[in-house]
Amino acid sequence: MEIVRPEVNTPQEADAVEGASINQLIAESTSAIPDPDRWIDEVLDRNVFLTTADTIVAWGRQRSIFPMLFATACCGMEVISMSVSRFDLSRFGMDVVRFSPRQADVMIIAGTITWKMALATRMIYDQMAEPKWVVAMGACAISGGTFRESYSVTPGVNRIMPVDVYIPGCPPKPEAVIFGITRLHAKIIKGTMDNPMLSKH
């Protein structure tokens, strides 16, 4: 998505511009974006020469993910509880929680995303540097949850960005989130060189 910054002089104009882009986003987001899951059954035959270097790079990446907390609802409480001493996310090298998308690797979407917020969410996702991953946490982020039929909530965050790991629950326990993080680790260690997002760089 291109970030367009038109000239606005009054709040009314800014509202009109924002409204138009939200309506455009809704019109474009009619179906779910497929999950980036090529890695699952990817045969390594093609990459046999690369596996050693690949594994080292992936191993390094896996052990130092900077998460970007995007807590919009009650799931945020579970993420906070997960990152402090009791459940201790530092064990996975994820203790540096970034609030700038440019320094983050994984975006944990913890909570309901409304259409008005979807625009900002998509912009933050676009600002993150490659390689990047997205974790959809909780029923609202996965499918809209209780608010799926609502007038203002996205029916799943995968309408606006590709999602790597889904963590179900309402909200998921910190243990569940940690399990999701380990799944993400498994995903990272399997695919770097054959990642379509990376190959173009």
Binding site: P11, Q12, D15, A16, E18, G19, A20, I22, N23, W115, K116, Y151, S152
Partner: protein, 146 residues
Amino acid sequence: MTVVTSGEDLAKKIAEAIPGSVISSDKTSVMVDAAKLAQVAEFLKNTPGLDFNYLNFATAVDYIDYFELVYRLLSMEHNHSLVLKTRCYDRENPTVPSIVSLWRGAYFQEREMFDMFGIKFEGHPDLRRLLTWEGFKGYPLRRDYL
């Protein structure tokens, strides 16, 4: 402790000052005519002894036949409170006088009511949608939405 003002007693005072404004009253609330809401509000705010100088909240309810607007007022000075209500029977183009000039706190609340119910507030400085976006169709908290 905040004392709830008797709506019946207050209704008499309002009716004396602004004839024909009070429609009904009970122990806790006063129902006034929507056309005279601004006058009543000014009376409640500026009369010595009443001094309702703080607006706790303003909200609206959709009863299908009419919209009921609810204002909860509080006097910091005398520590008493009142529920002021008014009804708006026009569903196509509901219009009610704004009270932003008296209580600045009504600014966002009236914008939210406009957003959710489509009630227009005459005299509001900048009546735009607040929670939903510009170009949103319909008014989501109306009973006949969807």
